[in-house]
């Protein structure tokens, strides 16, 4: 077997389907004229290829083509109906999920902290504590009792008076907690 035989055998499949270019077809037929081995190979290949094809032709779906197509299109419609339903249901489910997340998240940040911590600070109601990574500072000042009452504190003092207090400020200047001077009672909501 020489290079021409290798090439001829490589083109057998395309030849069997009639898909060789005219020049290739002429070349391979010329080669077969000269080469008995490749001629034998062609006959064997072509014969067996024919058997494969006729074997395949015996296998046909039992469902008639038109019915099979109708069934297929009906199933596409089912898929589309399911998709349209999900187009309505998915946003609704997303809204419900968002509401659930908010419901879980809001109480945590809004729940008033009652009672003083170990340093005597009482958290401002509905304000989250200073984050662990946040720089804080304490400032002493006079605060109107009315302002503390307005913030939601319960103060055992005259509402028109002023009280001396330390204020815990967050990095952004927000008031997070208040500590009153000795002998004055400050309570958050829930105490």
């Amino acid at each position: 077997m020489n290079d021409n035989c290798v090439r001829a055998r490589g083109w057998l499949a395309q030849w069997a389907d009639g898909e060789l270019a005219a020049a290739q077809a002429a070349w391979i037929e010329n080669h077969w004229e000269e080469c008995a081995s490749c001629r034998g190979e062609r006959d064997r290949f072509y014969g067996f290829d024919g058997r494969l094809q006729s074997f395949g032709e015996m296998i046909g779906p039992p469902a008639e083509a038109g019915m099979a197509r109708l069934r297929f299109l009906a199933r596409i419609d089912e898929v589309d109906r399911g998709r349209r339903k999900s187009l309505v249901l998915v946003p609704a489910a997303a809204l419900l999920a968002a509401a659930a997340v908010l419901a879980l998240w809001l109480p945590r940040t809004a729940r008033p902290t009652a009672g003083a911590d170990e340093n005597g600070f009482v958290a401002v109601p509905y304000v989250p504590p200073v984050a662990s990574y946040e720089r804080s500072s304490v400032v002493s000042m006079q605060i109107p009792v009315a302002n503390l009452l307005a913030e939601g504190y319960s103060v055992a003092a005259d509402p028109s008076s002023m009280v001396q207090a330390d204020v815990l400020l967050g990095e952004d200047g927000r008031v997070h907690a208040v500590r009153l001077a000795a002998n004055q009672i400050l309570k958050g909501i829930g105490d």
Partner: protein, 182 residues
């Protein structure tokens, strides 16, 4: 433009497959490959009813793929790959264990033949299927696709190799099959 896209263009008059509604394109592929995919599945050992169901599943997946604007590269190969995987899943399922045809040639029926001829054909079919099972995986794949009615050029597209390589695989496979089934 691939040869499939050209034919789709001729059939639908649409300039590019991506411009077609997914339903139209899926229906075209269904018409084009329903029978080859069915033959491929039966030759792979699925019973007739299972094969028909897998054909429907395969083209529904194609529809979803097209509707999602999935890749259109080598859809012919994609379809046979999906069919092959769906058939494997079905074989694994409990339901298939119960209903699998004991006779692998049960789906092979020639309506034109009489009972005797039919028996001979079925016997030949069984022997051929058994011989195909003994081929290497690439040879078996090419032979099954050829039996399914694909041209060698189409087999090359489906398998993702060049036509000459398909020719070599089939040539070796047919040499071996000729020995097994003289």
């Amino acid at each position: 433009m691939s040869s499939d896209e050209e034919r789709l263009f001729v059939a639908t008059g649409c300039g590019h497959s991506g411009e077609l509604p997914a339903r139209t394109e899926a229906a075209w592929w269904f018409e084009e490959l329903r029978v080859p995919v069915y033959r491929y599945l039966v030759c792979s050992g699925l019973g007739s009813a299972d094969a028909e169901e897998v054909v429907q599943e395969t083209f529904l997946r194609l529809y979803r793929h097209l509707a999602r604007r999935g890749s259109r590269t080598n859809l012919r190969g994609w379809i046979f790959e999906v069919a092959r995987n769906a058939a494997r899943d079905r074989r694994k399922s409990a339901g298939w264990q119960r209903t699998v045809a004991l006779d692998p040639a049960a789906g092979i029926v020639d309506q034109r033949a009489g009972p005797e001829d039919e028996a001979i054909r079925q016997e030949r079919g069984r022997r051929l299927q058994a011989a195909i099972e003994r081929l290497s995986a690439p040879q078996r794949e090419c032979i099954l696709l050829r039996i399914s009615g694909l041209r060698y050029r189409e087999i090359a597209e489906a398998v993702g190799i060049n036509v000459a390589s398909v020719g070599e695989l089939v040539e070796r496979a047919t040499a071996r099959l000729s020995e097994d089934i003289p």
